[in-house]
């Protein structure tokens, strides 16, 4: 009789384990997209015509980034890489100029080399205006050789 009772109890336990327990199993699939950092220019002036009388001319541009901050912008004149700023014609004759860049916080001279402005925060998707101004240091005269005198202003956004 004792044997029978024990065996019946075992059977009940075996059956009970399957009939009464609810069971679950789980899995998960992560998903995502990475939006890369990017900056772009818009409304960039096609060109700046410097008046012959030495008055100031200006050009402008906007740059917009999809990051809140942490980027910097460097402004430079090509001609500044060799001596002081100037416009130069095809014959290599140059006319000295002076130039400045204004953007957000700063109004900086480009005469002594490139300039950099750091943008720390609050610039997410906000177009940032930059204005470059330039002029001949000395007005042209009747003896100034005829020709097209050029230089290039460059803006480089690092992010």
């Amino acid at each position: 009789m004792n044997i029978f009772i024990k065996s019946a109890a075992i059977l009940t336990v075996l059956l009970g384990s399957g009939l009464t327990q609810a069971a679950n199993n789980t899995a998960s699939i992560p998903m995502g997209v990475e939006v890369p950092k990017s900056c772009s220019f818009s409304n960039v002036s096609a060109g700046i015509v410097l008046p012959e009388d030495g008055s100031e001319a200006q050009g402008s541009f906007n740059h917009t980034c999809n990051i809140d901050g942490g980027f910097n912008v460097t402004y430079s004149l090509d001609s500044r890489s060799i001596g002081s700023p100037k416009v130069k014609n095809i014959d290599g004759i140059s006319l000295p100029i002076t130039a400045r860049i204004k953007s957000e916080c700063c109004d900086l001279s480009l005469d002594n080399g490139s300039q950099t402005i750091n943008f720390y925060y609050s610039f997410l998707s906000r177009p940032v205006l930059g204005v470059v101004t330039a002029k001949l240091i000395t007005p042209t005269t009747a003896t100034t050789p005829a020709g097209v005198y050029t230089d290039t202003f460059r803006v480089n956004v690092n992010y």
């Binding site: 044997i3 059956l15 899995a27 998960s28 992560p30 998903m31 995502g32």
Partner: protein, 158 residues
Amino acid sequence: MKTFTKFAVFAAMLVGSGLTQAATTTASIPMGVDVPKSCTFSNVSAGIIIPEDGTKARGSFTLMCNTGSFSVEYAANSHANGSTSLTSTNGKKLNTLMNISRVDWEPGFPFNGSGSVGYGGFYGIPVNGFFEVGLQSPITATTEAGVYTDTLNMNVTY
């Protein structure tokens, strides 16, 4: 004398009853095995990279059960107000559109981030399901940079 004879016969019967009758005592031990119900996921996509242009990417999974009837609850972590989204570490959201297909031979149906599907007759038959997810609107130049994520959870009850 008669009395003695009768006594002897009676005694013989008493003794005989113990020596000649067969006797057994039995016991039995039932035995068995209970194969518990089980469902397992396999071939679960490790991760889905969602295209930036709004097209959908696909994830898949296989579910195998040793019972014919079970149900699967699908839930996206982002589920809220009947829609789904990806969230960046900065808390920015990009809305997504999802489809879920219960089995691989039927087209997906729109999934708003939470739902349950019952399965019947799938004893020992692998269920190859999949889901698709895409951005509701393509990413533009003004979309904040970052890594945007969500997770689809599947919970099978059996």
